[in-house]
Symmetry: C2
């Protein structure tokens, strides 16, 4: 009746922005991500017949804001007539700040809840269940380089290259720890309804996915860098052209980009990606990680750095 799972956040290189089905939380486009190693969310789920209501403790503190979405996830996994649950979560990085905390959270709770409910799901079903909680969570069930494909009225995820096969480093530059002003789900809907560039984005995504897939297969860092930065800037362009505009960047975000452009001109293997938040993720060749981290640490407005490699998918933890 209980289960504990750990999952890592993932960062999309070819981004997901916009839904084709809001109710089922189906993405409008496919995406390609890398699963991180050092950042994690651990979720413990315990179904208990004696409880009158679900409870959620995040990093030791009760949290009611996230509870409804997590409870719906438990309903989908254990059935609506399930016992109420105690949910406890530990997370070693800022939450709701554009660092894919919901991806790792929903991947972890899906795996933990399935175990707690004593149910066996295949990876495809788990991915589908996780994806209904958070669009990007399905990818965190898998490790390394992961592709999420749209399949009729469902999604399908798979590792396209293992973490060990191309061990890149990721430096996350935190520029602001507070939660973002507009959540991704609402922001995606604003973009879908109002951005004049939304349809062009949807149309071109398959080409970007193919380019990135080929670059990953060839371990072609330069090609992956070019398509990832382009896809990221396109996503933010769509947001900026939305009405009202969605600007997640701050001054330090832009300064980090300048720092990375400078390193690129010096020949370092590094590129940026930015999600719906002000943090900058620098993906780099491991031999350049130290230099990239030093440069970002020295960039005004960067309050914290996290350095990580690529990691595994979500998994159960053996608890005593």
């Amino acid at each position: 009746m209980q289960g504990t799972a750990i999952a890592q956040p993932n960062i999309a290189l070819i981004k997901y922005w916009g839904k084709r089905n809001t109710k089922r939380n189906l993405p409008a486009v496919g995406s390609i991500s890398i699963t991180l190693r050092e950042l994690f969310t651990r979720m413990h789920v315990k179904f208990d017949a004696s409880l009158a209501a679900d409870t959620l403790i995040v990093n030791g503190t009760p949290d009611n804001a996230m509870l409804p979405r997590l409870a719906s996830c438990l309903d989908r996994i254990a059935g609506p007539d399930r016992h109420r649950a105690r949910i406890a979560s530990d997370c070693n990085f800022p939450i709701a700040a554009g660092l894919a905390s919901s991806a790792s959270a929903f991947a972890a709770i899906t795996v933990a809840a399935a175990a707690a409910a004593g149910k066996e799901f295949g990876q495809d079903s788990l991915a589908s269940l996780a994806g209904q909680g958070s669009g990007s969570a399905a990818r965190s069930l898998f490790g390394g380089f992961v592709e999420l494909k749209n399949m009729d009225d469902d999604i399908r995820c798979a590792t396209i290259l293992d973490a060990a096969a191309w061990p890149l480093s990721v430096i996350v530059a935190i520029t602001e720890k507070g939660p973002k002003a507009v959540g991704s789900t609402e922001a995606m809907d604003i973009s879908r309804r109002t951005s004049p560039f939304y349809s062009a984005w949807i149309e071109q995504q398959d080409e970007d996915l193919a380019t990135a897939r080929a670059a990953i297969a060839r371990r072609d860092f330069e090609q992956l860098a070019a398509i990832s930065e382009h896809n990221c800037l396109k996503m933010h362009s769509i947001m900026w052209a939305s009405r009202p505009p969605l600007v997640y960047w701050n001054a330090a975000t832009l300064r980090c980009l300048e720092t990375l452009r400078h390193l690129q001109r010096q020949g370092l293997g590094v590129f940026f990606t930015i999600d719906a938040g002000p943090q900058v993720k620098a993906v780099c060749l491991p031999e350049h990680a130290g230099e990239v981290a030093d440069a970002l640490r020295g960039t005004a407005g960067v309050t914290e750095l996290m350095t990580t490699g690529l990691g595994e998918g979500a998994r159960l933890e053996n608890t005593a």
Copy 2:
């Protein structure tokens, strides 16, 4: 055989980005601008049979970089077999830094050269001649709120509302005085060739122009603010999604936007626009200009402020 003219830069609220004819320098879209009052470029042109070559002095210093474009302009006005010319220019604001210095320069030289050549041109012909030198220069021949329309293989400009009829203020926040890395002409061509959003931009421009035209006619500040900011962010989105990306903003640019967003939430009548450079132009109701200037002056990274109202079109100066 000589003439002196003065012209003010203009700032487009509904932007021009991209050309439909590079050779004739015809814009891909129409635009609406405001002509400023306090910033100026003065151009003195003297045709002299004794000269072996054209010369250009900018703010007292010889400048050969701009000379070929200005010389071509003189050829178009005075004919290719004209005498060589001494050109002297004075400009009271940073040049080639995204402050429309080329607009005021080409508007002024067109008027000065026509006088020096002893030729009479109508305003339409002058606008067409100025526009061949710099796409936005045609607008600086007119004062107040100016619309540039595409007409077959030419352009047509006119004042749609006089400066005095709706006396707005403009605060220009300078964040960097150096010339930009990529000039507008080259950048527009990169966008036309590579930006996935370019065609959507072209298609929607007429609607944005109509919205702004109606807002100006009604003196509807809020509506003009909304469409101007939207159009500006769209233009920058196109640049960012270009390959290579064209990012003209710096950290202070973004910080100025945050400052202005904050003022807007407090109910102040102010909106931003940004051209191909890192400077932020805040257009505001005159009664709020002081507060807007104070807030921008207090924004980190702003090195200089210029406050101006709306002004007249290019005109000859009586010289002794």
